[in-house]
Point group: C2
Chain length 340, copies 2
DNA sequence: GAATTTTCGGAAAATGTTTTCCTAAACATC
DNA sequence: GATGTTTAGGAAAACATTTTCCGAAAATTC
């Protein structure tokens, strides 16, 4: 591998001249420029990115902290992120948290030790952890589809409450009054969606029955169990709103096993519009999220923050946090299929 | 951020001593050791990984080239990879190729420019490209679930031919004789699985009809179209082997829409055992691949190669390619569900 | 044609490590 | 007591860049 010194020697110029033509940082006479380009070509020279990182304090690497890459929703977010980062010449490093949220701090440190230029969080942290993080470093951070309100940390996603509201309203408009809810209460996501449910019920003058509420982690299997539990109580909802598609297909499955017909005997509405909602029979009616776009927007915003920060560092030399105070809310939509 | 010099000053020792206690590369007296540790603690010192990379010529970063992260199969592979790399203190950088295989070379260059220590390929390249790659660099490379035979490049996956053979044999054992095939012929995967189909048919004395063979890209929608096409020809297979679960659920859907009952009128068997095969009704009978384990094994092997190489570089100083000549074949299995 | 400004190339410092090469002391051997 | 062998620990080179500073040459102005 040739280095800048070899190119300089070959082209008969100084090291700095080579650097200047490579980065266009200062004007260089056409004559020398050509000599440098020729040498670069002949030796197939590529500037060493590590050495550049060291001096420029920029790795062109962003970190993505994700609960589980193999989950369809997160994988799609990731794909959106990757698309725009790749275009902007950033690499993305992933960090799979699985469910061991305890080691959260460790993951942050890992990314920071690798000097990522910024982080996208797909995984829910406590607000304290986020504040802690901000205190510790001024590495840009954005939350994608993690609806937390933390001063200085931008969020991109949908309006969870109103999306849930729309889902439940749809059920109500179709004539349902006894509406069950399967949700998870240990994430902000689940809680907000539940809020949307409650609001819709209230706004339409429906009473919420305690026994119609069931909570479980977000997975097909847990959705099944939750539905079982819901039916066990003797409750007979005519429709169920599940705060994720996985839960919904699990729940549907349970209903099916209990001899209930969907949508004749019981209706279901999901949330997210991931792949499985389009392969189950009947097709799952659900709330569509522009998942990939959320990823893209998050990446776009993060890169913007990174570049803004590195510009300001260059000029003022200071390290004031360039805190972007923004929330990017994308449009969700109801997609009617066959389960209500 | 403190650097090694500051620690040295604080502890009242030389830079090299600090380095030595950090890496345990040479013995240091307990007294000085303690002083260094105290300084490190007090200043919360973390060695700068970039500077280390520069001198050690090791980034502790591996690259994963993947056709599409949002695809369930690849996402699972990735998750397996990430699990073992994280444990071994390697980061993983992803490179989403989407379908533009043309720019393949560009992706390799991208990874090499970032000086990844090794690459896992989940995306099929031509053998020429791989040879080209090997000629260009001696960065370790392993193929995960890309069944290509290239000298010096290890592969980890399943025995595609025999897995396909098992699938078709299962159909035959259940009494089917008219067996259709939906496959893709532009990947080694599709071709090998087709081979398995052919072998099974031949071994059981069944004739293969040209009109029973349909090919299409691997997706639910294409599977649907392929099935449509298959039925259009007037052929009436009693079972269809689809070389991926996506194709299979698409094909099943088509059958369903044509008024055929599964499995009474027509049977289906898929391949991969990804999530959707467990949510469709009836549940898809399929060939199970230990996807996550493939990812894990690939990562394990790659890291082994990397460390072996860096050891040999250290001792002999040479840069002979430490070519591992291995193929790791994991066990597949038939999982009987409801579609045959 | 002289004075002033602009342009451009080169030397050297800076980035934060690891590692090689020394020196000097401690220890063992004869 | 003299000599050889470990061992601890420091100075400096090496890694591959970018960037600042400086001086020389060229271009512009009066």
């Amino acid at each position: 591998m040739p280095n800048i010194k070899m190119i300089a020697r070959k082209a008969g110029v100084s090291i700095s001249t080579v650097s200047r033509v490579m980065n266009g940082s200062k004007p260089v006479s056409p004559d020398l420029q050509k000599r440098v380009y020729d040498a670069v070509q002949q030796m197939n020279y590529k500037p060493n990115s590590i050495a550049r990182s060291l001096i420029l304090k920029k790795t062109n690497l962003i970190g993505v902290v994700v609960p589980d890459v193999s989950n369809s929703f997160h994988a799609q977010l990731l794909s959106g992120i990757e698309e725009v980062t790749a275009q902007a010449d950033y690499g993305v490093m992933i960090c799979n948290v699985y469910r061991n949220m305890k080691q959260q701090q460790k993951y942050f440190n890992l990314m920071l030790e690798r000097h990522v230029d910024g982080i996208i969080l797909l995984h829910e942290n406590t607000i304290e952890e986020l504040n802690e993080f901000q205190k510790m470093t001024n590495t840009p951070l954005v939350l994608a589809s993690v609806p937390l309100e933390v001063p200085g940390i931008p969020f991109v996603g949908i309006d969870e409450i109103s999306a849930a509201y729309d889902a439940v309203t749809h059920l109500i408009e179709k004539g349902h009054q006894e509406i069950g809810l399967i949700y998870g209460d240990c994430t902000a996501l689940g809680i907000l969606r539940k809020e949307g449910y409650e609001k819709a019920m209230r706004d339409h003058g429906l009473t919420m029955k305690e026994e119609y509420l069931t909570q479980c982690p977000c997975s097909v299997d847990h959705g099944y169990q939750a539905m079982e539990q819901l039916l066990c109580t003797g409750a007979h909802p005519t429709a169920v709103f599940c705060v994720s598609d996985e839960m919904a297909v699990g729940a549907m499955d349970c209903a099916y096993d209990k001899g209930l017909r969907v949508p004749e005997d019981i209706s279901f509405i999901g949330f997210d519009d991931i792949e499985i909602s389009q392969v189950v029979r009947p097709r799952l009616t659900t709330i569509h999220q522009p998942i990939k776009d959320i990823g893209k927007e998050a990446a776009r915003l993060l890169i913007e923050m990174i570049e803004k920060k590195s510009r300001s560092m260059k000029h003022s030399g200071g390290d004031q946090a360039a805190s972007e105070e923004s929330r990017i809310i994308l449009k969700h939509s109801l997609v009617e299929r066959g389960t209500v």
